[in-house]
């Protein structure tokens, strides 16, 4: 009935690609979140002369197709003769891209903390940093987490674009198999399924977490 020349070996090859996708996602989200938190904090609290240029750069990162950013960064790296792999370039570009979005999320979360709550903290004798770490961040986290999970999922999907700078991730490995086996629909469907399986549970988890927190406050 249904025949395929796809072997277990090939499925493994696909899973390897999926592994690469996850690895890049991990680094990009990690780096992007750390940077995003710094930028976001600056965006929420810094004076305009620091805030405006940061906002401008982040805005550019959000307004240029990721594909173009990858290609540009990759060629710029070689112009500078930096000795880093395409993998690193991919991670760095994605991390910056993630940071650009993360910063807005963090900023929104921080600004969502009512100033009166912060004032209450300060009036108890807490320092500015204590207020930030004990009051502002935990509250902002609840506001920001759903969007942050959405961002993570978005980044995972955007990793597909690193195939342009020669990294064999999930989509690229499926293309390689399509080249060899000539069963595009079948193989692409499997790739799609893997993407779905990777992101759907996280999406659900995020929705659950959000609901639970909502019940709490």
């Amino acid at each position: 009935m249904f025949e395929t020349s796809l072997t277990w070996n090939d499925v493994l090859f696909l899973l390897q690609g999926a592994g690469t996708t996850l690895t890049i996602t991990f680094w990009a989200v990690l780096g992007g979140t750390i940077l995003g938190m710094l930028f976001g904090l600056a965006r929420a609290t810094a004076p305009w002369w620091l805030n405006a240029p940061i906002g401008f750069v982040l805005d550019i990162l959000r307004s240029v197709p990721l594909l173009i950013q990858f290609v540009l960064a990759n060629s710029f790296k070689s112009i500078l003769k930096l000795n880093v792999t395409a993998f690193t370039v991919g991670c760095v570009v994605l991390a910056l891209y993630t940071a650009a979005y993360c910063a807005e999320i963090v900023r929104g979360g921080i600004l969502a903390v009512p100033p009166t709550t912060r004032r209450a903290a300060r009036s108890l004798g807490m320092t500015y940093t204590q207020d930030l770490t004990n009051i502002v961040f935990p509250i902002a986290l609840r506001v920001a987490l759903p969007s942050w999970i959405g961002l993570t999922l978005g980044v995972m999907k955007d990793t597909a674009l690193v195939l342009w700078i020669g990294i064999v991730e999930l989509l690229r490995s499926s293309q390689i198999l399509v080249t060899r086996l000539q069963e595009p629909l079948f193989i692409l469907s499997i790739a799609g399924l893997i993407y779905f399986l990777m992101s759907f549970p996280i999406a659900r988890l995020g929705a659950r977490l959000e609901k639970r927190w909502r019940e709490n406050d």
């Binding site: 070996n9 990759n74 003769k81 020669g166 198999l177 000539q182 595009p184």
Partner: protein, 246 residues
């Protein structure tokens, strides 16, 4: 310089296109094989270093080189003057004839028949540039550049395009593989022979010199014929151009 760097690092990184059989492809274990892969291995052996294959889609060959992801390109790169402004070419290490690949029922028999038809080819290749120019000159019909050779075949088999112009080696290999039903080779495209070269960074004269000598040695020692027999079969094309020094 680069040549020293390669020898010092002990690794030669070759940019190779792996969806371009028989020059480069993957076997059942998804490992790279092909004429270009063997050539790279030979070059590494000559240098006394290990070979590392960096897979690059066609449009990415020279960017890969310029961006220092690869040391040399063993990737069937046509030696156009436009590109020579950016990268350095060795003497030709292979030569292609262009043929028309189409499906049986399209009724295309000659290059002239391509007028008004849906055509396509691999973005950035010699034949793509030539074909697109002709399609534009004809007016009517269409030309689609794809990012990989595989996508071109996929498009041809699905009917997204009616014909493509490809190198004779690829055309015969794909017809012989039997993976695409109804693919037929119909006649030559009237282009000049497509000489392809190894590529390196434009300013790395030392490396380019070495590559020139390496190609020369491959032919001289018969290794060129041997590899041609292994991957393509038949008469190996002449790599010299009559009436002019390289």
């Amino acid at each position: 310089d680069k040549l020293d760097d390669i020898i010092a690092s002990g690794v030669l990184r070759c940019a190779v296109v792996l969806d371009f059989p028989p020059m480069g492809s993957r076997d059942e274990k998804n490992q790279p094989v092909g004429f270009d892969v063997d050539t790279c291995n030979d070059l590494a052996k000559a240098l006394g270093v290990k070979a590392e294959i960096v897979e690059t889609p066609f449009p990415d060959r020279i960017p890969a080189l310029v961006s220092d992801r690869a040391d040399v390109g063993v990737a069937s790169t046509s030696d156009t003057l436009e590109r020579a402004k950016t990268v350095g070419f060795s003497i030709p290490y292979f030569a292609f004839k262009m043929v028309i690949l189409t499906r049986e029922e399209t009724g295309i028999n000659t290059y002239e028949n391509l007028k008004g038809k849906k055509t396509g080819s691999t973005s950035g290749t010699f034949e793509a540039i030539a074909l697109e120019k002709d399609v534009k000159a004809w007016g009517g019909g269409s030309f689609r550049p794809y990012q990989t050779q595989a996508d071109v075949f996929l498009a041809l088999s699905q009917g997204q395009i009616d014909a493509t112009v490809v190198t004779n080696t690829v055309a015969h290999a794909v017809v012989k593989s039997g993976k695409y039903k109804g693919f037929v080779v119909k006649g030559d495209a009237p282009y000049v022979t497509d000489y392809v070269s190894l590529i390196g960074l434009r300013q790395e004269q030392g490396l380019l010199n070495y590559l020139n000598l390496f190609v020369n040695q491959q032919v001289r020692t018969g290794r060129y014929k041997e590899l041609f027999e292994k991957w393509v079969g038949g008469e190996a094309p002449d790599l010299t151009v009559k009436g002019v020094y390289y």
